[in-house]
Assembly symmetry: C3
Homo-oligomer: 211 residues x 3
């Protein structure tokens, strides 16, 4: 596993250093981020995964605080998608799990069902806003059934399969993600503010879980 710091690959031996300010504190808590590509063809190696790399590139651009990348490629089987989310949330301790693919109306598109099956709480606002954003580009945006939810300490967000749609959707919802991760007890994430500004209420400049 590699540690990505400010978007560049970095090897560091230890992460325990004195917390002095917000930046240092944020850096001391590495955000583990699961990236789940859902695709029959990519999982059989017949097709190069383009969704996963698009998500990682996006995160590298947007995140300022440290994060590690936990990639998985699974087929469009509900049981496999569920198992991947469970492992990333429960065993690997990811605070954010982003899926790509499997959100359409076709028979084998079951990512939203898998997400709902393993989450304790659903977050309907994510899907609503992402569809609304995508509608600015294509009227078929309503065919995406993408949703989001919470499993334990992880926020799970479905994204569409098309690399181009991934950045559009993430631009819409990412400003709310760091505060959401605060609220579920995860690390304090910061963004490159000239690229994307994360929003936190004034009363919550520090996450309640780590005070």
């Amino acid at each position: 596993m590699t540690l990505l710091l400010n978007g560049s690959l970095t090897k560091i031996s230890g992460l325990n250093f004195r917390v002095q300010n917000e930046d240092e504190r944020a850096m001391s808590e590495v955000a583990k981020i699961g990236v789940v590509t859902v695709s029959d063809r990519a999982s059989r190696g017949e097709y190069e995964d383009r969704g996963g790399p698009a998500i990682r590139e996006y995160l590298g651009e947007v995140l300022r605080s440290a994060w590690t990348d936990h990639p998985v490629i699974v087929s469009d089987e509900q049981a496999d998608i569920e198992a991947a989310i469970i492992r990333l949330a429960d065993d690997e301790g990811c605070c954010l799990i982003v899926t790509t693919g499997g959100t359409g109306p076709a028979l084998r598109d079951v990512t939203p069902e898998a997400t709902e099956a393993v989450c304790q709480k659903m977050m309907p606002g994510f899907g609503e806003l992402m569809r609304q954003e995508s509608l600015k580009y294509v009227p078929t945006a309503i065919l995406s059934r993408q949703t989001a939810g919470i499993r334990g300490g992880a926020l799970v967000v479905n994204l569409p399969g098309q690399p181009k749609a991934i950045a559009e959707c993430l631009d819409a919802v990412f400003p709310a993600i760091p505060y959401c991760v605060d609220l579920i007890g995860g690390p304090y994430m910061t963004t490159n503010e000239d690229r994307l500004k994360a929003f936190r209420p004034k009363s919550a400049r520090r996450p309640p879980a780590s005070e």
Copy 2:
């Protein structure tokens, strides 16, 4: 219990008088409104409830027809929230039950789950519109999981916990509430039209249930 008439506290001994016109008729049917504050700290008395009073102040400003206020403060326990909604709907005969708090992504935020568990019908349009309105102010509006539903003769609407967000959300959905209450057989509610205009289709100037 106090009867609030046109926003001012009034004690009246009987409510049976000859129905002459819409205003009189509306006054003859008192709308019982439950206000459920969901907060661990407020329920233990460690924190002053600000959500409940903000809702009552709003209703006092907006409603022209008579209403009574049925306030409850409960902890963030799903069973307690469910019990409060059931009692207000089934025993106290409320036609409208408004909750505040417990709609976020945190572990103890379970108001939407409690609402869904006790409602026969869900009304997804309320949550969608309230999130969309709140998005005009903060990008974290998508973290609110607030919903609405129908239990018997009561419309149950979740609102966020922040007093400021309560009026924003109610301004968005309240124009549809009196007609919704008509459709579920409740009293004919009227509003102070210079503050907020309730909408009813022309064909429904009188509620079907009380004709």
Copy 3:
């Protein structure tokens, strides 16, 4: 059953002809469309069905490729609505089933519940967009609980009962319907483009299922 071609009634003896171009090909696959009017009064003959005819008129205006109309009128009983959708999808082979009525908050409004009970996949984007469109006309649009889903090879879409609202809602979502039908293996539908433009991604000018 009558075959409607370009909006006019046509009797044709056979539909097997050489596929030469997109138009001919589209014509060779007749889209079977179920139209379910949900209304206690219309099902008892006390009230003339106006929703069903409004939908058929709309389809006649908008569709260029061939379609047949499969009309049903049922009462507001969940079991009857479910049975109608199942028969149209499974026995008659409809690729699109449109319902009208029964989407409100009243006791007997159960069309969304019936739809959800018989669909394998829900399509939340349809209801969201239709409510958003209707909100441009009336604030009570949020009271409509209309949804959409997939049952086998059929897309099921709930519409409101009012004839006027039917065209507003269909104008919003119809541009995405032909591509959705492609994705679930149905016939290639085309529209009268000066009336309404269906959208398909460039990569999907032909439906995957029939290649």
